[in-house]
């Protein structure tokens, strides 16, 4: 342990409280109620927050998650990840035309600083909290994105870090962790095996695990996706948000963010319907919602969407509750639909997302086609990570580049070939035919 970072700002956090039995605990690195094993959550003094923030004060904050720092569980000023968040909310006109919907937006966390996924939001909060609590080592159980982000933020914080991942991860996610110099441990098993092992490790070593003993703080970082969506839409919550689910925390916290903003009077009462997206080969939360089950049935994941491959998601109950309370829905995407959707998003909007984003886009299309999401209502789709992290998924589906000698004749021949073999836009094809005629 090191000397805790000194808190310099009044905190709006009153402590931790059990979501199940409401028993209260002081702030510390703990995530489970000793009595019922229920998850602990941060308990805020909303009256005090309400006196401090307005739309104008928030809008005047930095272009990062820290404009919402009054609603995040740090005691002092942010210590790491100063540039995390405030990612673009992209108006997706081409994809909207393709699907025949009126207002479609992409919350594009594939460009989140610094590790290109929404995990930077939760990790900036968790590592900041680890510093405030005086830890010298941070860790995580991860399917890749979280490992990238924990290793990067630990480097910035000059903390030692350990990341635990399943052995079958994509090369980009492994290299994208190793480069920051953490201890990286590949565990033979699924993510759920990694998670269980890390829980046991966290019990034995005095380390701050972002998604285990720091989970109450870590999960709060996800709320910033919801705050940003509402602010970027001009202080309104959209009619629909489609969210990929792995552990189930993100969809829960976006819903919570809208409720908080409404309770603080910053947006109108929320009519948003939350929609959960999972892969067909690992969809325990979607199955739970679609069957109306009270109990989670864990699964053994089998999907190319490895970042969503959590077969035993602990936030399944709250995710399911958020979807139900909002009048939302849930749907699966097959691997094939996921790959098609990745290509569709890239070719229609110029945004390259990882497999999880493919799942979310595929599910959105399905919900629109089914009529579950009406075509005339505003839709926000959460794109949570970069496609460069999962290039393996698409490799065999894309053509090779056309290789030529460095002369014009060679290019003329190549262009004729490209004209017939690419899916470029009509304008490009016309231009190409003019040049060769």
């Amino acid at each position: 342990m090191r000397r805790p970072a000194v808190a310099s700002v009044t905190s709006s956090v009153r402590g931790l409280a059990c979501r199940e039995c409401s028993r209260r605990y002081p702030v510390s690195a703990t995530h489970v109620c000793e009595f019922c094993f229920g998850p602990l959550e941060v308990d805020y003094d909303y009256a005090a927050i309400g006196r401090r923030i307005t739309r104008e004060s928030l809008a005047g904050g930095p272009p990062s998650i820290w404009r919402y720092r009054d609603l995040l569980p740090l005691d002092g000023e942010p210590l790491v990840g100063h540039h995390v968040g405030f990612t673009p909310l992209v108006r997706a006109r081409n994809l909207a035309d393709e699907w025949g919907v009126r207002e479609l937006f992409l919350k594009n966390d594939s460009v989140c600083h610094p590790t290109w996924s929404f995990k930077d939001r939760v990790v900036a909060v968790a590592v900041g909290k680890a510093l405030e609590l005086g830890f010298d080592t941070v860790g995580c159980a991860s399917t890749g994105n979280l490992a990238n982000s924990v290793a990067a933020h630990a480097a910035e914080a000059r903390l030692t870090s350990f990341a635990f991942i399943p052995t079958d991860l994509e090369a980009g996610k492994v290299l994208g962790t190793l480069v920051y110099g953490p201890g990286l441990v590949a565990v033979e098993g699924t993510y759920d095996d990694v998670n269980r092992l890390c829980s046991e490790i966290a019990d034995r070593y005095r380390w701050a695990f972002a998604n285990i003993n720091l989970r109450p703080f870590y999960a709060e970082g996800s709320k910033t996706v919801g705050y940003e969506i509402a602010e970027q839409l001009g202080w309104r919550a959209p009619a629909h948000v489609v969210v990929p689910c792995a552990g189930g925390a993100l969809i829960t916290r976006i819903w919570k963010a809208f409720q908080e903003l409404a309770a603080l009077g910053l947006i109108a009462p929320v009519g948003t319907r939350m929609h959960a997206a999972q892969a067909e080969g690992c969809g325990p939360i979607v199955t739970m919602i679609k069957t109306g089950a009270d109990t989670l049935v864990p699964v053994k994941p089998r999907t190319i969407a490895k970042s969503l491959a959590i077969g035993n998601p602990a936030d399944a109950y709250s995710a399911s509750a958020a979807v139900k309370a909002s009048g939302g829905s849930a749907e699966h995407a097959t691997d094939e639909e996921t790959l098609e959707a990745m290509a569709l998003l890239a070719r229609s909007e110029g945004i390259f997302t990882e497999t999880a984003g493919g799942v979310t886009v595929a599910v959105t299309r399905k919900l629109v086609e089914q009529g579950t999401i009406p075509r005339d209502e505003p839709i926000v789709v959460c794109i949570t990570g970069s496609g460069l992290k999962t290039v393996e998924a698409l490799e065999s589906r894309l053509p090779e580049p056309v290789r030529i000698r460095p002369n014009l004749a060679a290019f003329d021949r190549a262009l004729a070939h490209l004209k017939t073999h690419t899916q470029a836009s009509p304008t490009v094809r016309e231009a190409a035919s003019e040049e060769t005629s």
Partner: protein, 92 residues
């Protein structure tokens, strides 16, 4: 059958601080009975009124979640390792 049971921090107040204990039983159900005999009050922390495992309690036999085995009827043999783990949220 004598098996080693790993106890997570939130339950160590019941096991007098022990992080590992030895207990007996031919299956998980009997094991929980024996644990409760040794450490009164442990049963109600693990299972609800109907005897089902609480929803935030995960139980593993030799690293496998008992929900993929036979649940409470999962058989035990000498030398097995049982781990009690609070359900934890995912990290992608």
């Amino acid at each position: 059958m004598s098996v080693m049971v790993r106890i997570p921090t939130p339950l160590r107040s019941v096991t007098k601080g022990a992080s590992q204990v030895v207990a007996k039983g031919k299956d998980v159900e009997e094991l929980i009975d024996d644990l409760d005999r040794q450490f009164p009050g442990l049963r109600e922390r693990l299972v609800d009124e109907s005897g089902e495992l609480r929803r935030f309690v995960n139980l593993y036999v030799n690293q496998e979640d008992v929900r993929f085995l036979a649940g409470r009827a999962t058989a035990l043999k000498d030398g097995d390792e049982v781990s009690v783990v609070p359900a934890i949220a995912g990290g992608r």
